[in-house]
């Protein structure tokens, strides 16, 4: 503790002379804390958005730090962990203007990943490298290679098990390459220690209108477009406060927003169809 105090004093020389604003001191303290918490010397200050403002607000640097690993733990009953991780991957691809040829590497051991889901999010298929490792060892090796590469923006994959040595290896690889490791973990991983910088726990929630009338067996087809209610909890966050949770909704435009008010009506884009200028002018000529 003493050492830290000395360092704090040393880093803020003005403190002795005049009063400094509280936020600035807190900021410098946070930075120091982050530097202490990190093992390596390569502390990345680069942040990419996690794809949603709500999630960014829960994170210390308002985004995911590059060169680190992030975990999405999915509730057994379901959630959209894969989809949320893909959302982060997309923003990593977009936000990396320094390397305009960044690739997203998808590790798909089961061979069930469906690329159109990524395409629907706006990830171009030619930026996607699909790897189908045979076993866990190959998966870890491929992840290591991909994270190390300077042309890879993000690595996305499902990790059923991850031991400490492999986790450390992947963490170091991500630091070398400066890329994001985005991992989907099963629910039992919650009880295991994590090497990731950020660990989210995602759970799908039943829609609001149905919580009261759950007993009705008949499915009622709602007239709204797709929307998904979910709960997300920040289980672990290095350099930030963990334990925060939020309930939000993914609307049909892929935007993540706070729970909607019940009065909200879905807006339909109704655009009047105009006649094609060419055919219109032709018909005018004909009538003339």
């Amino acid at each position: 503790m003493n050492i830290e105090r000395v360092r704090v004093r040393g880093s803020a020389p003005e403190a002795a002379g005049k009063t400094v604003e509280k936020p600035a001191v807190l900021q410098s303290l946070r930075q120091q804390l982050a530097r202490l918490e990190r093992s390596g010397n390569s502390v990345s200050e680069d942040r990419v958005s996690s794809g949603a403002a709500i999630l960014d607000a829960m994170l210390p640097g308002k985004g995911l730090a590059t060169g680190t690993m992030h975990e999405w733990v999915e509730h057994e009953g379901g959630g959209l962990a894969c989809w949320l991780a893909l959302l982060s991957a997309r923003s990593a691809l977009l936000g990396w203007d320094r390397r305009h040829h960044g690739r997203l590497v998808v590790l798909d051991r089961e061979g069930t990943f469906y690329p159109p889901a990524a395409q629907a999010l706006g990830i171009p298929l030619e930026r996607l490298v699909l790897i189908r490792p045979k076993d866990h060892d190959e998966l870890i090796w491929s992840a290591d290679q991909a994270l190390r590469s300077p042309v890879v923006s993000a690595v996305w994959g499902r990790l059923e098990t991850l031991d400490d040595r492999d986790a450390r290896r992947l963490q170091l690889a991500a630091e070398v390459g400066g890329s994001l490791g985005l991992w989907i973990r099963p629910q039992r991983a919650l009880s295991q220690p994590s090497w990731a910088d950020v660990r989210w726990y995602v759970r799908g929630l039943p829609p609001l209108s149905h919580t009261a009338t759950k007993s009705s067996a008949a499915p009622s087809v709602t007239m709204e477009r797709s929307s998904k209610r979910m709960e997300i909890r920040l289980v672990r966050c290095r350099g930030g406060r963990s334990g925060a949770s939020a309930i939000f909704e993914i609307n049909s435009h892929g935007q993540i927003c706070h729970e909607p008010t019940p009065q909200q009506t879905p807006a339909l884009p109704l655009v009047a169809q105009l006649a094609h200028p060419k055919s219109a002018s032709k018909s005018r000529q004909r009538s003339a």
Binding site: G78, A81, P116, L125, R132, E138, V151, T222, S226, G254
Partner: protein, 583 residues
């Protein structure tokens, strides 16, 4: 003396071994659409014939009892690769002079696919080395059998005669050798090609399909009848091609055999003085070979895209190392690292006495002078880094495990995406010996995609023009279906095979007003799902020319546990299926 080896079915799939699965492959014909280009014995016994349309074949296979069927698109690239692999194998073991049959710019009689399907080997004077020509044939049959093919083999004085006999001779002829499992073989004695050819059909002469049809209509059905006709009349009526082919088959006109062999700079080999299993020695030899290969290639501004390194062992099965590369490379260090990495993981069963290294696919080296502005982080360095990563990955995992996905615009979800290996792809995807692939269909589709599907009158008029194309659309029934801007319209996980669902109260879903609704409760395994909300239906249907027709109504359903599932009702066969998971 020359031999023609007609490997009749290089596209035969191992899947055929599965019981009661009828396989048919279709190819695109510019005039007649999708035609069956190959089928297995089971399909043939059910009435499927090469040259019929996919819809005919489909209806024949649909009614077949207790046999499932599979109609897939013919992959000409895979075919070509298999044939050239076989050619290289023959060049190693039978005769150094191997040709893949040359193609004219028209289809030969009886040919459906415009791509080489036969190998021509020059075996002049080679019979004695094998202890007689029958032994030579047996050796060839062994090679075919090892590769899992059955073929028709003929040895004759001219390549025309050998080709004709191998393709068209009956399996009861006089020159037939002892049947060797499923391989049929004929040896035509020297000078006897005319007798061997006379009973055959005109198609055995490699003439234009139209010429063969015309001759058949005139009553000239066999080559014997053709020979009896006056030659001068034939030239004026059928052009010079027919007589040239006849003379080539009979040996009165010469024909050049275009050799298929790797150029010397694409191929290096070394005989080890002392056969060894020592990895250091082998690694050293590989490195030397690679250096020679790369030097030869880079003089021609070529780089390696696919590399095969065969190590022949004392005990027969030779050991092969295969590399595929993302971009053409002539970097010795890069290739050596990949190759030695592979060597470390292989297990040698006996001593190696010969190493053959072949660059089976090469491409032009693209060297770009870096400008002052992009020295730091240019495009070239990123391409280089990407190539390094992908080469590393596919070097260890295998070519078929490092993939890129392509959209095919096929309406069925499982076929909407095609994956192909990132490495070892030819530059510009041109297949030698075959005309450039036609892109007409693709452009028509992409034009269509620009106009969103609405049912306005003007578009109905244009839709009638493109009747065939518009039937292939993704039919959107109402506005509740997945909008094209909805990022959650497709699941992140798609099961390879749809899983059957058990609907728990079927009578409610069968009523007509509930037809557009998913079941309220269903069971998957031992888990029961209650549907809370659903979106759909989104109808996806294929055109009849896509093989067995499919009509499905897809729903996205939200269950009481908070899961999102992608289920569909099969409108043709009935039943509900789970196809994907929004995870």
């Amino acid at each position: 003396m020359q031999a023609s080896l007609a490997s009749a079915a290089p596209e035969q799939d191992a899947a055929q071994a599965a019981t009661k699965l009828a396989i048919a492959l279709w190819g695109m014909d510019p005039r007649r659409g999708r035609l069956i280009v190959a089928c297995c014995d089971l399909a043939a016994s059910l009435g499927v014939r090469v040259g019929m349309t996919v819809s005919q074949a489909d209806s024949l296979l649909q009614v077949a009892p207790d046999a499932t069927h599979w109609i897939a698109q013919h992959d000409s690239q895979a075919d070509w690769e298999a044939l050239s692999n076989l050619a290289e194998r023959c060049a190693e073991c039978i005769s150094p002079l191997v040709a893949i049959e040359p193609l004219e710019n028209f289809l030969w009689a009886g040919q459906i696919l415009h791509q080489p399907q036969a190998l021509l080997l020059d075996v002049t004077g080679l019979g004695n080395w094998f202890g007689g020509e029958p032994s030579l044939v047996a050796a060839t049959q062994n090679i075919l059998e090892q590769a899992g093919y059955w073929g028709r083999i003929a040895i004759a004085d001219t390549q025309g005669a050998a080709w004709g006999v191998a393709h068209c001779a009956q399996s009861t002829g006089p020159n037939l050798l002892q049947p060797h499992r499923s391989n049929a073989a004929w040896i035509i004695p020297p000078g006897a090609q005319q007798q061997a050819l006379e009973p055959l059909r005109i198609a055995a002469l490699r003439v234009r399909s139209e010429t063969a049809v015309m001759l058949r209509r005139l009553g000239v059905t066999s080559i014997a009848a053709l020979i009896r006709l006056p030659r001068s009349g034939l030239v004026t009526r059928f052009g010079p091609d027919l007589l040239l082919r006849l003379d080539q088959a009979l040996g009165t006109a010469t024909e050049i055999l275009p050799m298929h062999q790797a150029a010397p700079e694409h191929r290096q080999n070394v005989e080890l003085q002392y056969p060894t299993t020592d990895r250091d020695i082998l690694a050293h030899q590989l490195s030397l070979l690679l250096k020679k290969l790369v030097t030869g290639l880079s003089q021609h501004q070529q780089g390696v895209l696919r590399l095969t390194c065969r190590m022949e062992q004392e005990a027969p099965p030779p050991f092969e190392l295969r590399l595929g590369l993302f971009t053409p490379t002539a970097s010795h260090e890069h290739l050596e690292r990949l190759l030695l990495g592979n060597l470390e993981r292989c297990r040698l069963t006996s001593t190696v006495h010969r190493i053959v290294m072949t660059a089976t696919l090469t491409g032009p080296l693209t060297i770009r002078q870096p400008t002052l502005l992009d020295i730091d982080d240019g495009e070239s360095s990123s391409v280089y880094e990407l190539a390094k990563l992908i080469d590393n990955l596919s070097g260890r995992l295998g070519r078929e495990r490092v993939l890129v996905a392509e959209s095919t615009h096929h309406p069925l979800p499982e076929q909407a995406i095609r994956v192909r290996p990132l490495t070892g792809q030819p530059m510009g995807a041109m297949i030698p010996g075959r005309p450039a692939p036609k892109r007409a269909l693709a452009t028509r589709k992409s034009n269509r995609k620009k106009t969103p599907y609405t049912s306005s009158a003007s578009q109905q008029a244009s839709a009638s023009q493109q009747a065939s194309a518009s039937m292939d659309r993704v039919d959107t029934l109402d506005w509740r279906a997945a909008h094209s801007s909805d990022p959650l319209r497709r699941p992140t996980i798609l099961y390879k095979k749809p899983l059957p669902l058990m609907v728990l109260d079927p009578q409610t879903t069968e009523s007509s007003q509930a037809f557009n609704e998913p079941p309220a409760r269903f069971r998957r395994g031992n888990q029961e799902h209650h549907v809370l909300r659903s979106w759909g239906p989104e109808r996806l249907e294929t055109g009849w020319w896509h093989g067995p027709m499919q009509r499905r109504d897809y729903f996205r359903v939200e269950t009481s546990s908070g899961q999102w599932l992608w289920i569909y009702r099969d409108l043709r066969q009935g039943g509900w299926w789970l196809h994907g998971l929004f995870s």
